[in-house]
Every structure is written in C-alpha cells, then in structure tokens.
Symmetry: D2
Subunit: 406 residues, 4 copies
C-alpha cells in the first residue's frame, strides 16, 4: 500500500445530529484520523423535533486508516451505504475472538445477517457480537467458545447512538457539564421525578453505593428508600456492607464513632469483629434470620427482599461471606442484576460506578453523585448523553432524595 | 561570629502542651532550626484539666540562629526566663518598622514595658506592636508613623497560644482533620449549638460568604438566618451581591437560570444590567428604599440593619457602588466589622476567608465550609485549634443550618 | 402583552458552525428561552475549511422574550436580517448606562452607525459600547460619563465568535476537555511551539502568576523565561512578589524553608521583614537599584525591563509599595498591560486568571495551568475555544516549559 | 455491671512519645472512650534522641469500656504492667476467630506465651494471631482453621509503634502534611536518595502503579527504572497492563492517541484488540517470547525478570490472561510479593495503594504520589509515620525520578 493512495467511502447518518453534537464528533473523528470529508448532502431538522440527515464522502490515505475511521464513525451512527451482510468468522479458541472482531459500543446495534437486520441482544460495550440460531448477541471475550460465529469488521453493522433528550425532566440540560455551583435541590427534585416516573411505569432502579453513605450518616435515609421500594437492586462492595454492619452491631452501644462522625479507618476492633460475627453466622441473610443483625442497609435489603451483589476488591478485609471474590462471577452477577434496569444511581463509588457503566446499554440513565468532581467527570465522560453528574455531598443528597420521595 | 560558637538559653512554658501538640511543635522547631534542646524539667498535667510545665535549655550555633529560634518558640508560648523590659525603637519613617520589629502572631500577647506587663490590644497577626500612652497595641506596617515606639525582638514578650478545647461542643475533635467522609449532619448540629450559645451569651457572629450560596440556591435559607438574627455582620465581595441582586431583579420573572440551576458566567444581559440598575439607584440601600430591590440576601441585610462590607477584587465587574475598591479601606472596614466577633462562618470563599483569618485573634472560632477540600485545608492549616473545617456542599449546609437553628 | 402572542424573527449566521458547536449552542439557547425555531436554509461547509450558513425563523411568546433571545443569539454570531443602524442613547449620569444598554461579549463586534459598520475597539466583555467621533469602543460602566452615546439593544450589531482552530499546534484538540490523565509533555511541547511562534512574529506574551510558582521551587525556571525574553509582562498579586522577595532575601542564608520545601504560612519573621525591607527601600525597583534585592523573579523583571503589575487583594499583608490597592487603578493597569498581548499564560492563580480573562478579547489565547481541576475548569468554561487548560503540577510545568524553550 | 462502677488500670509506655505525637493520641483515646487518666510518672527524653517514659492510671466506667480502651492504647505502645501470658482460644470453625480475638495493627507485636515473649511473624493489620509450634504469626480470618490457637484480648500483648524518624532523608518533615504547594523537586530528590540507599543495602522496592503512568506518557521513564533495577516487583491492575500493551501494539503505528495525549476511554478498537491479541498469545510472557510484544512496561518487566502481579477489579475489560480475577488469590500473591520489601512506591492508584497498605507492616516506608490530594490524604491517614504523600503530576514525577536515579 503506497502512501499516496486515496480511499473514499460514502457514509450516511440521521438523527438529532446537531443537538447531540454528533456532527461535531463525526467531523472531529475524520480530522483526527488524518482523513478528510466532503458533505454531499445535509438536510437540517427544521424544528427541535425533526431529524437531520447527513451524507458525506470521507477520504483516507490507506485501507487501514479507512477501516479505523469507519469503525469509529459507526459509533456515531454513520453507516456505509449499500446493504451487505456482516462478515462472520469463527472464534479461533475458547476465550478469544478473530483478530478483526468488531468490539461493541453500548449503543443499540443491528447486524445484517443472511439478508436480515438483527437487533443485537444484551447490548453492552467492549464485547464481541455472536450470531447464534438466527440471533445476534453480545458476548464477552472470555465467554467466547471456539467456533462461535463472531461478527468482524465493519460492513453490515448499524449503530444508533442515543440522542440527548432535551425536555424530559430537564435531564439533558443537567448533563451539559459538571459543577459544584449548581442549584442542587432543583437537581435532586428532577432526579426524584425521574425515579418516580420509572417506578410508576414498572421500571427497575439499581443503586450502586459506596461506604461514604454510611460514613456520612446517610444510611438511615437510604434505608427509607429501601423500605419505600425505590431500590430494586443494590450493587456494592465489601466495605459498604462491613461498615453498615459494624454500625448496626456496635454503633449504638458505644456511640463514639457515630456521634462524632469521625470514621476510624484501619485495624480496629469493631470492624474486624463485625466481619468475624457475620462469618460465624454464615452470612448476612443468616445473621438477619438469627436475629443478630437488626438494623441498617443490609438488614433492610434482606427484610424487603432487595437483592444485593457485593463485589470484592484487592483492598477488602475479611471479606464477608457474601462478598464475591471471584470477579468473573461478580461481573456476571452484576450484569445479571442490571438486566432491565432503567436507572442506575451511583453514590460515591468510582470503582463500582465504572464497573456498572461498562455493563449498561446507552439507553439506561445513570445518575452519578460524588463530592469529588474528578469522579463525576470520569463517569460522565464515558457517556454524556447517558449520565447526569452531580457534584455534591452524598450524605446530604441521600437525605434530600429520601425527603423528596416521601 | 565563628561557626563553632554555641549559644544557650533557658526557655519555659506551660499549658495543655501535650493535647495541643505544642510540645511536638516546640521540639520540631528546635530541630528545624539546626539547634538542640535538653529538657531540664517537665511536669505533666496529671489529668485532662491540669497544665503541663516545661523548662528546657536550647542551644544554637549563632546569636542570629538563636534569635530566629526564640522568635518562633515565642509563638508556642515559650518565654526566656528573667523579667526584662521589651526593646522599643522608633519607626524610621511612615509606613515602616525598624528592621528588628517583632511581627505578631494572632495569639494573646503581653509586652513588658516600664516594669509592667501590658496586654496587647487589637491582637492580630503580621502586625507590629506599638507602645503608646502606657498601652500596647497591634498596628499594621502601613499605619505606622515615623517615631512610633515599636517593640523589637524578642525579650519582654509573652505569647499564650490557644489550647485545643477538648470537650465543648466536640469542636476539638472535629478539628482533627479534613474529610468529606464525615457525619455531616452531626457536625452541622454542633455548629448550630455553638452559634446558639454565642448568641444567647450576647456574642456577635460574622458570616463571610461567597457567591456559591446564591448559585446553589441557598440564599433563601441564608435569608432565614438573617431574619432570625444569627448574622451580625456580612462580609463578602462584589460577586455575592451582584448575583444575589441579579436573582432578585431578574431571576423570578424569567426563571431560566433559577429553575435549571445552571449559572451562566460572563457577559450576559442580566448580570450587567443588575449592576447598572443599582448604580443608577445610588447603591444597595437606596435601591431597597426606593422599592427597586425587594428580596434576597442584600435586601434582608438592609431591612434588618445587618451591616455588610463588600471588598473589591481584580475580577470584579462593575462594580456595585457599595463595593470598596480601595483595599486599604476595605481591609480596615473588614477589621472594624470583626471587632468583638466570637465566631466567623466562612462559606465557600477562600479569598475572603483568608482575608478574615488574617484579621482575627486566635480565640475567635472560625467555621469554614467548602466542597473543595483544598480550600478547607488551606484555611485550617492557618490555625488548627481555631478553625473547624467541613468539606460539604455549601448550599445544603446552609439549608441544614437554617433548619437546625429554627 | 398577551401570552398567546407570538413574535417571529429571521436570524442568520455563518462560520464553522458545526466544529465550534455553535449550532448546538444556538438551538439550545432557543429552547432554553422557551422559544422555537425553524431552519429556513442551511448550507453545510462541504469540507473542513468551508463555512456553513444558517438561516432560521425563531418564534417567542413575547417581545421581551424575543429581545432576550436575540441578545443571547448575537453572541453566537446570529444577526437579524436587514441593515438598520444601532440605537444609541445618552448615558444618564456618570458611571451609568441607559437601562437597555448592550453589554458586550469578548468577541469581535461591529456596530452600524450612520449607515457604516464600525468595528468596536478595545473589545472586552461586560462593557458598554460608546460611539465617539465616528468610532465605536468598549467602555466600562464606571468610565461612562453623562451624555456618552451608548449603544442600546440589539439592532445594528454584529458579533463574530472565534471558531475553534482545528489544526494549528493541536490547540483545538487540547481544548476539548480537562483531564489530569493527559500526556503532559506533549501538551507542554505544543504550548512551547505556540509561544515561540508568537515571539518570532513579534507578538507579546503575558504571564499571570500565583505564588505557587515560588512555593514549588520553580521560580528559578521562571527567571530563565524572563531572561530569555519570553515574558513581556508579568501580572500578579502581592503574594507572588512577597514570597519571591522573601526567598531572595532570606531563603539562601537560612536555607530551612527552601531545602525542605515546606512553605510556612502566617505571621512569621521573614515574611513581614521582607515586606518591611522593601517598604523602607521605597519599592521593588529601588531595592534592586540599591543592591538590596539581587535575585528572584522580581529582580529579573526589573533587570530585564519586564513591566509588572501587582494587584492587591483583601488577604494581602503589607502590602509592598508596588502593590496597587486601589483596584480600579489595578484593573486599568492590568488592561493597559494586556493590550496587544497574543497569549496569556495563567499559572496557578484563579483570582488573577479570571481577572485577566475578563479583560481579553476572545482572539487572545489563554493557557491555564493548575493542579486543581476545579480552577482549570472554571477558567476554561469562560471560553473553551480560547482557553487551553492543563491540570498538572505548576512547578514541574514551568521547569518543562523552560527546558523546551531553551 | 452497674454504671457507677469504676475500673482502673496502670499502663506504661516509652519511646519518642512527644515527637511522634503518641502522648497526644493516648490522651485523646482516653477521653474519647469516656475514660479519665492520671499521669503517675513521666520522664521526658532530655534530648532529641532519648526516649520518654509514661506511666498512668486510666479509669473507665465499666469492664467493657476498659477493655476497648486498653485495646486501643495497645496500638500506641501502652501495656498493662504485670507479665501474664496471653489468652489463647481455639478457632471455632474454619475461617472464623473466637469472638474476643485480638485484631492486629501493623506495628511490631509480641505475644507472651508459656512465659516467653514471641515476636509475631508476618505482621500486618486486621489479622488474628495464631500460636503454632512455639511461634506466633498473623493469619487472616479466612485462613484460620478450626482449632487454631488464636490470641484473644488484650493481656500478654505488646505493640511497638514506629516512631517518626526526624532526620534521615528529611522523610519525617515531609510527612507532616499534604500539600500541592511543596518544593516538589526537593521531595523527589529525597525519595531518590531513599531508593538508592535501600538498593545499595540490598533491599527490595515495590512499585504499585496505576494506568495514569501510561496516559501521561511516563511509561518510557518507568521503563528506565525497570531497566536500571529499581523495580523489584510491580503490582498493578488489569488496566495498567492493557493500556501499556495497547500503546506498544498500536500506539506508534497510528500515533493518534500518543501524539495528542488524549486517552480515549471505552469500547474502542485497539483497547479490546490488544486484550484479544494477548489472550490469543496465551499471556504477556508468551507474547514477549513470541515477539508480539516488543516494548513498554510489561515487556521490560518480562525481559528483566521483574515479577508482576495484576489484580482484577469489577471494572476490568477482558481481562488479560495474567490478571488474577480471584481476589483471594490476588491478595495472597500481592502479600507474597511484598514480603521483604523495604519501600513501596504507589503511583496514582488508590485502589491498589490501599490494598498494599493493608498488607504492609508499619516499618516499610510507603511513598504515595497522586495529583488528587484526596487520594494522597486517604493513604497518608492510614499511617502518617509510615507514608510520605506527594501531590503532584504523576507523569512528571516519574520523569524526574528517573532523571535523579540516573
């Protein structure tokens, strides 16, 4: 391949290209790849509700560069014209894809196979697409088995990115940026509206919760949310459960830590004894059933049949018997728990928040609350149309949210 | 002076040397100055209430090093034994001190003059001490006049640092460190107790307030504090008043900014027109009296006769006629307004918070609230026994505080 | 005015509307104002270099809402069709504009007056536009005099926003977001390229510098930049000069603070004595000329005839005689010093950085470096096409920059 | 037990009680537990080198409160007088300790057993102590087997906390606080000295590294450290290795990402293909041996026989075959790798940094570098005598460190 060769393709897309800044991203992508574009046709949506349509010719200096570019453009909804079937190749060995496999985004995706457009099931990012018995579905690399029919690069694929919704609940405007100078209570009120709407439509809500909810004294308010049915599944780590149980078992009798509000980190008695007590009881549910554990977030989850998944981490003490230290298993259980969720609310946990973000399709809304703007920025940068970031005190946020959902 | 010369002095101090970590600081200071110490006598306070007493010999390698060391030790309460009068020299010209002038700390200070120990008046840091008509008082360099009798280095001076108070309102324990993982509502409850105690003892409270209080939608709650008499003086900058007045004049009729909570920075219509409107009215008070300004923080201050001082800054637009752009004048008015204040509550303004911190003696408590831990750390580092730092959402903090002070 | 009245206008604009996200901002603005739009004509720039053109009909529910909307759209380059002269009204009193005055953005602006389009001089944001002897110029509210001919709302005005430049020095791509996870050395190399280009074209560069440059030990590297002619003007506050001079006068003889790197804040001997010494000398230049001050940033500026302006603030100690405590004067001197500057590099000072940002037209590039992402975000949010934000260690940045500019 | 009962104990300790602030912590602990103290004897270390000695009577209101207090005091080096053997009870079941088991700190600990003081082996925090064949050793709860002889509360135990070392390498003074305003290059020089000293004494050094080292373009400098033998073991997560390998496999040919410095997060081609390529190769070592992987951090580790352990997390993509997703196994391998390490350098990874911190005894120094002060504070708060925190740009830090270690 010589460097003066020029390769061209016609690509097309439509949607809220202006509002969602897709046009800007498309043009940036072209320039970033050292390619050029020429707009062949562009029809602008005349009003806020109408779609815009773009047809352009992109030119790159090599087939490889064009391939890269087309794959990136695919995620912005661009497709090459002409209806051809996707290329499918068998997985070479267990746990591996063909070299040219198409790695998914989290947007709705269709694959053309045997002349039919199949919508991809279990959409998530960073997966391969497997064709099986006339259906297309996302499969993680490690779950591939030799011979699986894997979709390879880039023909016969269509991706439909989520568009910013401009008016519903003011969600769109809130996603414009991250700031600690917002009118927080207004934001909380809108989040409460969204949650109430989802619940009344029968939708499920996941809460992804860091231990700060306990440290800041907000677990009582979170328990309210559990009792009132707003928590359909709780995703967390070992620390949340340990701190919650430590407070339940020792907090009130000694009172020191909960009255001063100073969490004491590190090798101290109650922390490890709480873990030991639950280990002896045989787990959290057993501790509730035996009457050992009688309050707190984990207790309320057990009592109200709210499923919880605790994923282990390298920093965990103990751990509790309920904490899943095999992370392949933990990821699978998280993903299972998130199926059908309509909103995920991430409270002060970057680790589990990113974990959850990786598993969700782009049409599930994510609310991310943290006092540290870097955490919020990191989560929002992964998908700004999807994620509402709020920089505020998580404890006071949970208090406000519980009040507004009364 | 040869480098092998050794100079020794006996210094003494007493107080809550252990609890307040003064011993550690004293020994650190000695080692940091390349000097050495030998403890001659140490009596430990047998209980939490008793004072400890330390007598030690410090040795340095030169007179100059010893002088430096003794000045630093002075601020930790150490004095050289022997009762000699302080050295006093005349200020050489207006606005200048003698080279060897003693630069004050913010702790209670006594000067021995003509055989009498005089308590220094108007205590503040970074000032000179002037003896005038048998009294000693702090005076800033720029306020010195040629011939003023200025206390020079280091004999005849005693400083009594504040000790950490261990039990009152839990203030001491809260000052131990900065964390966003605290039990915030407990902290707010204690601050509310402190404020109530000070008010019922007839004490005055200053609020030092940044524009975030308006941006976060908390000005309504702050107005409650003004109406209920908890704000004895408001110290702020141009921006707080401008944003507050902009909200009062335009916020409700248009509703855009206050309903979405997105503050729009920069050259926009309402911002500058609010300034222009107040300029035309002749100032904030005139705007209230003429019926132009009918709500908001500044309105409530005028209506409830709460004095306010607005200090200018390089970034100010306008400014409002009330904003003092001559900072010598602004500093003087701030200092005047802070006389007799018992607590200063600093809400999301590093600039004005540091300004106020510079002016306060060490026995005035400072509460510093900001969502940015760097700001809180910076203010707390200036005096950890004096300052309670709280990393939380300022808007929600003001809401909580107003609720707890109902 | 009844609420069911609908007002319509045709507005037009052209430029890099997609790349610079102006289209998105325009449509957002319409929706935010409760108005609606209908695209009448849109021609897309076929390539990266061509302009796009938009003509649309906007409809609002009242004249007032339309007026607000048009003013906001003006800043995105939209103009109403039809060539009419701007409305001009006399300033009612000194220091005040007519109620309906047009408050400037920092973009290039033209006013139609007596049938001529006049380019506005001394462009800056938040000013009024005055017509005087056939010329149009920005004037701050406080500088208006009764009778000045002030341009009032919104006819006869054209604004041309800066477009993102996509390719030059990679500046545009670097402005896309704020992150501490960037390839910092690449960013420094590009900033060095920009600076070198500006210098070789005879352009001027302003550095706006906080005291962290001294605390972090980077002042030696900054002195290199001064000596090599890269600093055309230094804008700072009292603290930079005081810390720099303190280090020059006392740092090396004692060595304590500079060898451990721990800055000691607050009322300590060298700090105030440095101030006093300069006050006695009669100012920084006098201290250099008398041989008192022989090293450091301020010394190098004096020796190399680099003008500096030190603006006072409420937290200043002393201050130095050179520090301008009258902020009206300080703002005027800052603005004067910034005339003709092509790049402003802001090093760890939010206060002075925002001050400078307010004074610059949008075609002067701003580089903002701070270790705190909130500071960088705040400055970049004021004008993302104009400002390159870099979250890194300012001291190490200055070291790198000085190496790359050798 | 009635509430007016008073229980008293005599406790003693010695060491650098003042310098290391142990006295303050001891007295704080007593007051925090609602107990009181009376100093019976106190001998102060006369010089910087001498130990101080404290004997005091503590009084609590119940046996339980006294037990809690004594356990907390134990960690500050306090012991009850009288030489009695430790109480030992059998573990009730696999993976569980007796209710009253002593949970370890990370300080050197001795247990009195059969009249002998045994030093506890494999010291780490949050473990139980098991007596086995005349030896005492730390064992994690999950590793206990039914019948293991577990040391129970609090008699017969001695703990010797680390004291702040004041002079060696200036380490102690650097640990005083966290600040981004330090003289960074001085700090780097001292860390380089420490590392060189440890290496020349034959000590081992662990680096715990986050992916920011790759994003910021510092991996080349880190490779220098590996090649020169300063990295004895590398502890990281999946992301470091993936990003490093992605850069090695795709970074140079395309150049996009590495020349602009903008990391592109999320489902993009090279990221997942890098993972797939290593999976197909059978792991990192195999990929080096087959000639697939020819540069980067992981390559250098393989080539220079530097062992690495990659611990999985819930957010991992892939993962690489080398990433240990079973965290019980990962923690065990981390702990194994850290045996005999003398310094652990943590570069921008809170997760793995805390994991490592949990495993280290208090006499292993930890250097923690991050641009986010919250991360540094969190790690330093776990053991301020042990940990040196530096808030700076990690990429530039690694560059500086590599230069200083040339």
């Amino acid at each position: 391949m010589t460097s003066d060769k020029t390769v061209s393709e016609i690509v097309e897309t439509e949607g809220h290209l202006i509002d969602s800044q897709l046009m800007t991203e498309i043009f940036d992508a072209v320039v970033k790849h050292g390619a050029s574009f020429e707009a062949v046709e562009f029809t602008i949506g005349r009003t806020n509700d109408e779609y815009s349509r773009l047809k352009m010719r992109v030119s790159a200096t090599s087939d490889a560069a064009m391939k890269d570019l087309l794959e990136e453009l695919l995620a912005f909804g661009c497709r090459t014209s002409g209806d051809v079937d996707a290329t499918v190749q068998p997985a070479p060995t267990d746990g591996c894809a063909p070299d040219d496999f198409y790695s998914t985004s989290n947007h709705r995706t269709w694959v053309r196979y045997a002349g039919q457009w199949l919508e991809v099931e279990r959409q998530r990012m960073d997966a391969a697409i497997v064709i099986e018995r006339g259906r297309a579905m996302c499969r993680k690399l490690r779950d591939l088995r030799a011979g699986d029919q894997v979709v390879c690069f880039v023909e016969g694929l269509r991706v439909v990115p989520e568009f910013r919704e401009r008016d519903r609940h003011g969600f769109a405007f809130m996603t414009g940026g991250i700031s600690s100078e917002r009118h927080v209570e207004t934001s909380v009120a809108r989040i409460a509206d969204m949650i109430r709407d989802v619940k009344s439509a029968g939708g499920r809500i996941a809460f992804v919760v860091g231990p700060v909810v306990v440290h800041t004294g907000a677990s009582g308010y979170f328990c309210d949310l559990v009792r009132r049915g707003y928590v359909d599944v709780l995703l967390a780590g070992n620390a949340l459960a340990v701190h919650d149980i430590e407070a339940a078992l020792y907090g009130t009798s000694l009172g020191v830590s909960l009255s001063t509000g100073s969490p004491v980190e590190g090798g101290h008695r109650h922390h490890m004894r709480a873990i030991n007590a639950i280990r002896r009881a045989g787990g959290i549910r057993a501790a509730v059933e035996s009457g050992l554990l009688t309050s707190g977030v984990m207790f309320e989850c057990v009592r109200h049949n709210v499923p919880f998944v605790l994923a282990g981490s390298i920093r965990d003490d103990g751990p509790l018997p309920d904490t899943i230290m095999d992370l392949v298993e933990a990821q699978d259980q998280y993903a299972e728990a998130l199926a059908d969720v309509r909103i995920a609310v991430v409270l002060s946990t970057m680790l589990h928040g990113i974990g959850v973000g990786n598993m969700l399709p782009s049409w599930v809304k994510v609310v991310c609350v943290d006092i540290n703007p870097s955490v919020v920025t990191k989560l929002v940068d992964r998908g700004s149309a999807q994620t509402l970031g709020l920089v505020t005190d998580t404890g006071l946020f949970v208090h406000q949210l519980a009040s507004k959902l009364k």
